[in-house]
Symmetry: C2
Subunit: 223 residues, 2 copies
């Protein structure tokens, strides 16, 4: 049992450190192959044989690196989830300082929608939702990094706008959820059940814009 092999991060997902050097390339190949396999088949139907075949290494090597199918799944999905959604981090910080609030909200929600609606992110989301009972840690991780439920920076920005009088938001946490639901949530729901649906750019802009208008009609001050 190597040192640090059972370390868990704040979300209960095993941290498997990547060794530098020649083995690192094989490790990368395993991770890539595993992600493809898990996204295509789901956790249970995914085969470790298929992962080894796709990655070009032997099965023993896979187990030397990750120990078990469950640890491989958590490491791979957790990593890609963190990386993919890292773009969402600097979310609502520019909102409070923006001259035109509507434009700022449209830009914020549109940027988020572009990322969250990407086919690979949607597939990852479906996989996480389907395996929630088996891996509750991934659900908690998705909520935090993807801000699918709570968005800290956005809540803070709405609170600041309320204090300044630019908006009248009695419950910023609820308002943030409503804004996200009325904008990103609408096309996201459609694509959740229709993976093959295309993203019409003009339609997306129209939906997002209408959602922001919905939000502002309720929370904008007369000023």
């Amino acid at each position: 049992m190597a040192a640090g092999k059972d370390d868990l991060d704040a979300y209960g997902i095993p941290v498997v450190p990547a060794p530098a050097g020649a083995a690192s390339r094989k490790r990368r190949a395993i991770v890539d192959a595993a992600l493809t396999e898990f996204l295509a088949e789901g956790y249970s139907a995914a085969s470790m044989d298929a992962v080894t075949a796709r990655s070009g290494v032997s099965k023993a090597t896979v187990y030397k690196h990750f120990g078990s199918k469950e640890r491989l799944f958590l490491a791979v999905i957790g990593d890609v989830l963190r990386k993919t959604c890292a773009d969402l981090e600097p979310a609502g910080q520019a909102i409070a300082a923006a001259p035109d609030l509507r434009s700022a909200l449209v830009r914020l929600t549109t940027d988020r929608a572009r990322i969250l609606l990407r086919p690979d992110v949607m597939a990852l989301r479906r996989l996480v939702i389907g395996e929630i009972d088996r891996f509750p840690q991934l659900g908690r991780l998705w909520c935090r990094v993807g801000h699918d439920v709570d968005d800290g920076p956005l809540v803070e920005a709405l609170t600041a706008l309320d204090a300044r009088g630019d908006l009248a938001v009695p419950d910023p946490k609820l308002a943030a959820r409503q804004l996200v639901a009325a904008t990103v949530g609408v096309p996201q729901l459609v694509r959740t059940f229709s993976p093959e649906a295309e993203i019409d750019e003009a339609e997306l802009e129209r939906v997002i814009g209408s959602g922001v208008d919905l939000f502002l009609a309720r929370y904008a001050t007369g000023a």
Copy 2:
């Protein structure tokens, strides 16, 4: 190959007629056991052995009735999905005639939320989402009977209200999606990633009421 064994309904889901009599009880036991097993384990990890054990019949009987794991899954999930969401059918018909529009919208969305947020319905939803790639028919079926994406009656009601001048709704289809997203969608999203979260009745009323207010702030006429 019995007659009608390969009949498909409008959604591409096999229709397996239930014979009346003594065998009907066994069939019911199989369906109940299979639903429990699939909801608990997902499609791939679900075991036909576990289904037979839970239902108290032999494995051969299960295969005599349903032919394969795939057909059993489609039949069971499709049936329960239709039955569960049948309560949602008479959706927006009473809206247009209601004296108090806000109360009517709150009642409509609250009723829907109560059904869609039930733990068993949420679990079914997670299962369908996770198996969308394998069974696209279930995604299409969910969209229709659950009105998770499009709600025909609600769209018609909004169109009528717009024509009468009670609301100003330029795009009823989009408005219907926004109403659902801003009300039911908010707690639904939370519980999608947190199966164990409880439904606080007071909190639900507050969220739904706020969502309806959001909707009316945008679409209500001055009158």
